[in-house]
């Protein structure tokens, strides 16, 4: 009734307290129909708690959850028409793979021929057709999670929740199943709420990412939003690699901040935040935006540079990563295409970067 929107899920001012702990602290967000939205955050940041409230396993302390414009808080989990894949293996150990996938349809009392057809289709989708007769204990972790995915999708739920479904798997397998989940999302167009603490996974899979920190959403946006325009120092350091150079604010004009580092070097960077003259700030530069050059960058251009000595070189295949000691006693990381100019250990070099690739944030209160 309320909505002309096409939002699948609306969460308003959600709060969840466990005694003294505030697990979810005033979270609001909406998920568009068919969207793949990921909750990204470190351990204990409230991702699972939020997901469990959407699923109906926990009641919120306050706030609301709407699915398709209707509040679901009084609806028990089994009537919410949601699918879920858990972090732990939750296949029914007393049933075969086939019966696990058939279970949601069987409890709905669907006719047997329909169940058989749907189960075969799902087994095909997760490419486990030949495993139908096995018990969960006879499957690998990755296979179990694919069966769990099939079980969560066989009844065509309105919404699919996934709570770190791949956390227990090794990297190769994880990437395979990530691909598979992406494909299934494309094919079925189901709305997905995905939880992970792996930023690479979040960037690779999601339409949008909500970065959780201490029960709050620090920022929500597309992967490139978070990477290119992080809203604060926390997001900047959490999403992707970054150098955070500590300094003191010298002045701001037209979003351009000047920062003086400990050794007197002055660097410039963009800033949206309200910065106070003279306070401690951080200037953030991504490792791959620092370009080695033999000489200082000219003053005319919007390029600026820092100088340092190479103290470590790691070859990473497609890239080379250098660790650089600087004159202001803070090491920085530089990452370049491996075919580009090779720097020797102990070499001294300038590293130039565009002012627009530098962002200035107030220093974060030292996190717990």
């Amino acid at each position: 009734m309320t909505s002309l929107t096409k939002n699948a899920v609306e969460i308003h001012h959600l709060v969840k307290r466990f005694g003294q702990v505030t697990a979810v602290d005033d979270v609001s967000l909406s998920v568009a129909d068919g969207e793949f939205l990921t909750f990204l955050g470190s351990s204990g940041s409230g991702k699972t708690s939020t997901l469990f409230i959407v699923a109906g396993f926990e009641d919120p302390t306050s706030g609301s959850v709407e699915i398709d414009g209707r509040s679901v808080l009084s609806v028990p989990p089994n009537e919410r028409n949601i699918g879920m894949v858990f972090q732990r293996y939750t296949l029914f150990p007393n049933m075969s793979v086939r019966d696990n996938i058939a279970f949601p349809l069987s409890v709905r009392g669907r006719p047997q021929n329909e169940i058989d057809r749907a189960v075969a289709e799902m087994l095909d989708m997760v490419r486990l057709g030949s495993y139908a007769g096995r018990r969960p204990s006879e499957l690998s972790g990755g296979q179990q999670q694919r069966v769990a995915l099939a079980r969560a999708l066989v009844y065509r739920p309105r919404l699919l929740l996934m709570d770190e479904p791949l956390a227990a798997l090794d990297k190769r397998l994880r990437e395979d199943i990530q691909q598979e989940i992406r494909r299934i999302h494309r094919e079925l167009g189901v709305t997905i709420l995905y939880v992970t603490h792996d930023q690479e996974e979040a960037l690779r899979m999601s339409d949008r990412i909500a970065v959780f920190s201490h029960g709050k959403i620090a920022q929500i946006g597309s992967g490139s939003d978070l990477y290119e325009r992080p809203a604060n120092g926390f997001v900047a350091s959490f999403v992707g690699n970054s150098n955070m150079l500590r300094g003191r604010l010298r002045g701001v004009s037209e979003r351009m901040a000047s920062v003086e580092l400990a050794d007197g070097t002055v660097l410039h960077g963009l800033s949206d935040a309200n910065l106070i003259h003279g306070t401690q700030v951080e200037i953030m530069v991504r490792p791959e935006r620092l370009i080695p050059s033999s000489s200082r960058a000219g003053d005319l251009t919007s390029l600026q540079s820092v100088e340092g000595t190479v103290i470590d070189v790691s070859y990473l295949g497609e890239a080379v990563q250098y660790e650089i000691a600087t004159r202001w006693q803070q090491n920085i990381v530089v990452r370049n295409d491996s075919r580009a100019s090779g720097l020797e250990l102990g070499a001294s070099a300038h590293f130039s970067f565009h002012v627009h690739d530098a962002l200035v944030f107030p220093t974060q209160p030292s996190a717990s």
Binding site: A55, P77, G83, F92, N94, V107, Y155
Partner: protein, 262 residues
């Protein structure tokens, strides 16, 4: 090696001599067994024994299952309290607990008195000196033996499995019958076997709460040996009990398995 010697001295030797007694007294042969299995009066005792053991097993399971489930899902502190209460009752002297039931169940006991005062009955109900009293007393005493193994099984089941079932659309009733109950079968099997086998040979409670009209096997053995000095028949009855127990144990091992090795 010492274990084997121990087993021989304290198990094999006495059992063998008991068996010898059962086939030699009063005369050589299987006469005692034929009498026990053929005579209607003894048949009645055997029936009573199995009947009471069966009923006690069922009732303890029905009462014990929800308790074990509570123990598994309650917050740790409350669960510890409940567990302590169960263990405490288990460690209280058996006679004291049985006499407690006598006080409650007798003709002028609290239960009958209350019912009469409320005007629900005119005559005291026969709650004691019969199989009803025996069943009640034994159910109470056996409860922990079904709760403890069930609790071990239930607390080993990941609650996330139940959540997974719920989110796929299963109603609580369906989750119970199709997931929880099948997964708790090992605990049910272990608990029931324990209770059934213990109940088959139980002596104190039937002796105190039961009547002379409807005896159970252990009482009969005691009577044969102590009062009638009929060692042969008593030994044969003990052996029948042992054989039946072994059969049930074999069935259990067959169905559930001893360890959790698959």
């Amino acid at each position: 090696m010492p274990a084997l010697v121990f087993l021989f001295l304290f198990l094999v030797l006495p059992l063998s001599s008991l068996f010898l007694v059962s086939v030699t007294e009063p005369s050589l042969g299987l006469g005692n067994y034929a009498k026990l299995l053929g005579d209607a009066a003894y048949g009645r005792v055997l029936f009573n024994t199995f009947f009471v053991a069966g009923v006690v097993t069922c009732v303890t399971l029905v009462i014990g299952y929800p308790v074990a489930w509570l123990l598994a899902i309650l917050p740790a502190r409350t669960a510890h309290l409940l567990m302590a209460a169960i263990l405490l009752s288990m460690w209280t002297n058996l006679l004291a607990r049985t006499y407690g039931w006598m006080v409650l169940l007798q003709r002028t006991g609290i239960i009958n008195r209350t019912l009469i005062d409320l005007g629900l009955i005119n005559e005291p109900l026969p709650l004691i000196n019969n199989l009803f009293g025996v069943t009640i007393g034994m159910t109470y005493i056996m409860l922990p033996y079904v709760i403890l193994p069930l609790h071990a099984t239930l607390s080993g089941i990941d609650p996330a499995i139940m959540q997974a079932a719920a989110i796929t659309g299963a109603k609580p009733r369906q989750i119970f019958w199709r997931i929880l109950l099948p997964l708790s079968l090992p605990g049910i099997g272990a608990g029931c076997l324990m209770v059934f086998v213990m109940a088959l040979g139980y002596y104190v409670t039937p002796a105190l709460l039961g009547g002379t009209a409807n005896m159970m096997l252990a009482e009969m053995i005691a009577q044969q040996v102590q009062s009638l000095l009929n060692w042969g028949l008593g030994s044969a009855a003990a052996f029948i009990l042992l054989a039946v127990t072994l059969v049930f144990f074999a069935i259990y091992v067959r169905v559930v398995g001893l360890g959790k090795r698959s």
